[in-house]
């Protein structure tokens, strides 16, 4: 989940305690909050206690993905990051199939399924936001990823057509 920051200063520790308290009555096991300059990760440990696992500043904590800058020469396409829209377990292939959905160098169409984000029994297909070629795959199958994690890169020849992520 993402939250939006307010401009005024907040007592961060008090706020975290309040957040932790509100989680206690729920079955939420993992909560991520991303604020400008802050990435908060709250996870219920095996004892059932909520633990604030990490509190680190992040250089870029934006939720909007900027289109790569236009270039006068079309020779070097910018890799376009494909991000997870949620916390979940990353699946490079469908659990029923042996092959991953895509591999580095493969041409993909707009909307093509690149990977799956598993949350419980539900899987969210990660769809190609643009046509291009698969670049680096930055995660492993079965890896727990967070909201906004970069999963893989798409190399597009047409940077001006790269869309905004939601």
């Amino acid at each position: 989940m993402s939250g939006s920051a307010t401009s005024r200063k907040v007592d961060l520790l008090a706020w975290m305690r309040a957040l932790e308290a509100s989680l206690r009555g729920t079955d939420i096991a993992l909560l991520q909050v991303q604020l400008p300059g802050l990435h908060l990760h709250l996870q219920r440990d095996t004892v059932g206690e909520t633990v604030a696992k990490a509190l680190q500043p992040q250089a870029t904590a934006t939720t909007a993905v900027q289109a790569p800058p236009a270039r006068s020469a079309p020779s070097q396409p910018e890799p376009y990051p494909v991000r997870a829209g949620s916390v979940g377990v990353l699946r490079l292939g469908h659990p029923l199939h042996a092959q991953p959905l895509v591999h580095t160098g493969q041409a993909v169409a707009l909307g093509q399924a690149l990977a799956l984000l598993q949350i419980g029994a539900v899987m969210l297909p990660i769809l190609a936001p643009c046509a291009g070629r698969v670049g680096r795959v930055l995660v492993q199958d079965g890896q727990l990823v967070g909201y906004g994690s970069v999963l893989l890169e798409i190399k597009t020849d047409r940077p001006q057509e790269a869309p905004d992520a939601d």
Binding site: H94, P95, L96, H97, A109, Q112, A113, L116, Q118, I119, G120, A121, V122, M123, L124, P125, L127
Partner: protein, 327 residues
């Protein structure tokens, strides 16, 4: 609106069955894999019992005449939309003019034999006697009481809305059931169980039962060691339900399936529990199954487990569908 370009025989519109009409001689019909049908509906945000197309003969070729979302569950039939492969157990969006092809079911770890195509709001056919399932004998319900032909048009009950792309882990992964490498189903002994020889009991529980080609929505004819009664059995016609394992004179059992007639006159050695009928409905011809003896309490627990899985899945899907907002 979808046009059927090419279809095998015996693909029918089904929902979760026609209940309450046994007293008129009308069996329940309904999807052979009711869990896959309900899950496909959940993927689209439909009521779980909305009507869908059950595909048991492949390949199937359909053309979308209008933009539409759809969902595919059950067998992974290597579906392609205009030649692009589709993820199984997932929602998809088609544009007018695109062609959907269901090929042959994959022989994968879960090797299923029936696929379900769900549409937004369900397939729009009239309800007859409280259900949209096809009643083949008597020819009513579903699409004019018959199987699909080329040229038929299927209409979704709701206009397509940009469905959230979603996929599901098939239920077999959450609720596996195998016995010594073969798919298995749980069975409660039936009225004539005690009238069979001990060797027959052993054969029932220990034997591998192969599903012969003479198997369909009416019943699965199994082959294995012949089951023998201690003495010849004369039966009066009595009510039966899907799952009942009858033993005809030749000793080769027949498991009644969804289109079974509602009465029978053969002895019954057992009945597959309702909670496992979806598993049975997916086992392909030529495969072997095992029967696991169970008790009433365990059978009810299994029933609750399946209902809970569906409710849980529907809830998780609704959370995701709500996030993106369907206008």
């Amino acid at each position: 609106m979808i046009e059927v370009l090419r279809t095998g025989a015996l693909n029918t519109i089904q929902d979760l069955g026609r209940h309450g009409c046994l007293g008129w001689g009308v069996g329940t019909a309904g999807a052979m894999d009711d869990v896959a049908l309900a899950a496909g509906n959940a993927l689209l945000g439909n009521a779980l019992d909305a009507a869908a197309l059950e595909v048991q003969v492949f390949p199937l070729r359909l053309r979308f005449l209008a933009d539409s979302d759809f969902a595919l569950t059950g067998a992974d039939a290597q579906a392609q939309l205009d030649g692009l492969p589709l993820l199984p157990w997932a929602t998809h969006s088609a544009r007018a003019g695109q062609t959907l092809v269901l090929g042959l079911p994959q022989v994968d770890a879960l090797h299923r034999s029936r696929a379900y195509l769900c549409l937004p709001g369900g397939v729009d056919v009239p309800r007859v006697l409280n259900s949209r399932s096809t009643q083949m004998r008597g020819a009513f319900g579903g699409l004019d009481g018959r199987a699909l032909h080329a040229g038929d048009k299927l209409r979704p009950a709701q206009a397509a809305c940009g469905a959230t792309p979603l996929a599901l882990l098939p239920p077999e992964l959450a609720m596996p059931l195998r016995c010594e490498g073969s798919p298995a189903v749980r069975v409660l002994p039936a009225a004539e169980y005690a009238r069979y020889t001990p060797a027959s009991h052993d054969a029932l529980w220990q034997g591998e039962w192969r599903i012969t080609p003479q198997s369909d929505r009416y019943g699965y004819r199994l082959t294995g060691q012949a089951l023998q009664p201690l003495a010849p059995l004369e039966m009066r016609s009595h009510g039966i339900v899907p799952g009942v394992i009858q033993v005809p004179p030749d000793g080769q059992p027949i498991v009644q399936m969804r289109d079974a007639q509602p009465t029978g006159g053969y002895p019954k050695i057992g009945a597959v529990i309702e909670a496992d009928l979806w598993r049975l409905g997916q086992i392909p011809i030529g495969s072997c199954i095992r029967f696991i003896e169970t008790r009433w309490d365990e059978a009810l627990d299994a029933h609750a487990q399946v209902q809970d899985w569906l409710a849980d899945v529907a809830r998780q899907l609704q959370l995701q569908q709500g996030r993106r907002g369907c206008a």
